[in-house]
């Protein structure tokens, strides 16, 4: 089936010297695809002093790691990284390249694809091989599932968000070969990262939270938005958002749930003032119980959750927060008396 010569590639990443979960998740998926195709998995990892991370890529499923470990690779540098990866890709001719939908991946993927003159599918929610070994890159669209293929050009390139594929079982007995990547010489540097500033993330992390409260454009205003945030705080829940809310500027991209944002698997999901846009809803399919609050009884969200409440969230949410606070203070008093 398909092409039995050329490898499946993963662009691995290191953030502050550590490989993020998404790189291992896509290595696991690359392993599944490669075994069906009868080819090897190769990862490329660029950083500085990151030799100790290589075994992790082997244990997640890589057979070969192209390792660039040099001061030039310490931080993501657009031109240096693009040049190194494209040169090695031209050398190895991967048939598939998987890239995590991280900030680096989202910039690198289109640069690599355009330089190689090939296709690129954004933020896939599944990747399967058809009978001819062609990669079906699935994304949500029009309320259904759309498969995108790149029938002629190679490599076939896709980005994938964290949490789309499970973390593979890490087999510490697996090993492979390391091929060094040297920093490119003599390229024109026109864009340079001078400084990278990491801040401590605020609030409960979305990816692992047992309760998620997500808000959408139905909040109506920043004031309405803060009410939804207060509900999240009251429930000690992680706070999520939809793309329209991000576009409004009420919150940042880090809180966005869905195809191009984060995948969440809470026990309880509460969607407030959001229409149920498919690109958002695919990020929550793993939730146990889902509740939606929206003033439009025809909102598509009501077809995709377990419980629906038709109310204006700007009235319902403050009233709900008040009830919860009362309940909590009551419980506190009772406990005190006992």
């Amino acid at each position: 089936m398909g092409d039995t010569k050329y490898p499946v590639w993963v662009i691995a990443e290191q953030i502050l010297g550590e490989i993020p979960p998404v790189s291992l998740e896509i290595t696991g998926q690359a392993r599944i695809l490669a075994e069906r195709l009868g080819v090897e998995v190769e990862a490329i990892l660029l950083g500085n002093g990151i030799e100790d991370q290589v075994d992790l890529l082997f244990s997640a499923g890589a057979d070969v790691v192209h390792l660039g470990s040099a001061p030039e690779f310490t931080n993501y540098q657009c031109e240096i990284f693009t040049e190194s990866i494209v040169a090695r890709a031209r050398d190895r001719n991967p048939q598939i390249i998987l890239i995590g939908s991280t900030f680096m991946g989202r910039e690198l993927a289109p640069l690599i694809a355009a330089k190689l003159g090939t296709g690129l599918t954004a933020h896939c929610i599944d990747l399967v091989l058809d009978d001819n070994g062609v990669l079906e890159q699935q994304i949500p669209a029009y309320g259904g599932l759309m498969s995108i293929v790149c029938p002629e050009k190679r490599p076939q390139i896709a980005t994938v968000a964290r949490g789309v594929f499970p973390m593979p079982n890490l087999d510490e007995d697996r090993s492979g070969s390391v091929l060094p990547v040297e920093p490119p010489q003599g390229i024109k540097i026109r864009v340079q990262t001078l400084e990278v500033v990491h801040t401590e993330p605020e609030g409960v992390p979305l990816e692992t939270a047992p309760i998620v409260v997500a808000g959408g454009a139905g909040a109506g205003s920043l004031e309405g938005w803060l009410e939804i945030q207060e509900l999240a705080d009251t429930l000690k829940a992680a706070f999520g958002s939809t793309r329209p809310a991000v576009d409004e500027g009420w919150t940042d991209l880090e809180t966005m749930i869905g195809q191009s944002g984060k995948m969440v698997n809470p026990d309880l999901y509460i969607g407030v003032g959001l229409s149920g846009e498919q690109q958002h809803m695919v990020g929550i399919t793993g939730a146990k119980v889902m509740i939606a609050i929206n003033n439009d009884p025809k909102a598509p969200v009501f077809e995709q959750v377990d419980y629906g409440i038709v109310e204006d969230c700007r009235i319902f949410i403050p009233a709900l927060v008040e009830r919860i606070m009362k309940l909590k203070s009551h419980a506190g008093r009772t406990a005190h008396v006992v």
Partner: protein, 265 residues
């Protein structure tokens, strides 16, 4: 004076986009005239260009690729303060993926002559890819910075910007000419003013097709696109929704009940 190109995309209005769904019975996507609007993040890109124009003087050309109705959003950009508006429209351009779109836009930008700055929104609200800006940078051989949230230093030929990364930002120095894709945090886009509409009445938009760009037909549109849609399947919802009825108080009671059941309170 800076010569700025802003790339804008006509996208379906969010409410209209909700209706664009596969019919569960016929499996077809309903076809009707969809009201279009400027892709929200492209407004931030245009606002940045208008800001540079007001600060230091600049000429702003807005370019959009799309069917003839997309001309309306190019006109709207003129009313917002752009100097020129170009619509890339030709039946041959239809069905373009990100790569073919970026290629066509690049050829149009080359036709404009010297350009210092190309601004795009971070992503489009309909396709939800973020590829056109960076791919354009490859075809134009310009450096690119994606997800720019702040222009720190924007004089001369070497600029500094802050761009988003996971839980933080990077400070990036770039030599012009360059491409930036911008986020919603960059600014608050202005809305249409009456005087803007009046002033732009006399302005005409320019439409360029395949011949104007002197491109072979197999490099644009569907023919020039490496990716194609192979399947579109209807997906059944796995959940059955119980609508909680009653007065506001009763709904609140029930909601509290669900929260208790789930162990949330």
């Amino acid at each position: 004076m800076l010569s700025i190109v802003v790339c804008v995309k006509a996208v379906p209005e969010p409410k209209a986009a909700e209706d664009l769904k596969i019919d569960p019975v016929t499996k077809a996507i309903p076809r009707h005239d969809i009201p279009l609007e400027i892709n929200p993040l492209d407004r931030n890109a245009l606002e940045a260009a208008l800001h540079f124009k007001e600060q230091a003087g600049a000429s702003i050309t807005v370019i959009s690729m799309g069917p003839p109705p997309a001309g309306d959003i190019v006109k709207e950009c003129l009313a917002l303060g752009s100097d020129e508006g170009i619509l890339l429209s030709d039946p041959a351009f239809a069905g373009a993926d990100a790569l073919a779109t970026a290629y066509t836009l690049a050829k149009a930008i080359e036709k404009l002559g010297e350009v210092d700055l190309v601004l795009c929104g971070r992503a489009s609200s309909d396709g939800a890819t973020e590829w056109v800006g960076p791919e354009l940078s490859v075809f134009l051989d310009f450096p690119v910075v994606t997800m720019v949230r702040e222009f720190i230093q924007f004089n001369g030929s070497s600029w500094q910007v802050k761009a988003d990364i996971e839980n933080g930002y990077r400070l990036v120095q770039v030599e012009l000419p360059a491409i930036f894709t911008v986020t919603q945090d960059l600014n608050s886009p202005r809305t249409l003013s009456f005087s803007g509409i009046i002033q732009s009445r006399k302005k005409e938009i320019t439409t360029w097709g395949l011949k104007d760009l002197a491109l072979p037909a197999n490099t644009v549109g569907l023919a020039g696109s490496p990716t194609i849609v192979s399947k579109l399947e209807y997906v059944e919802s796995k959940r059955e929704c119980e609508i909680i009825e009653g007065s506001l108080d009763e709904k609140l009671d029930q909601m509290i009940g669900k929260l208790v059941e789930a162990g949330a309170v």
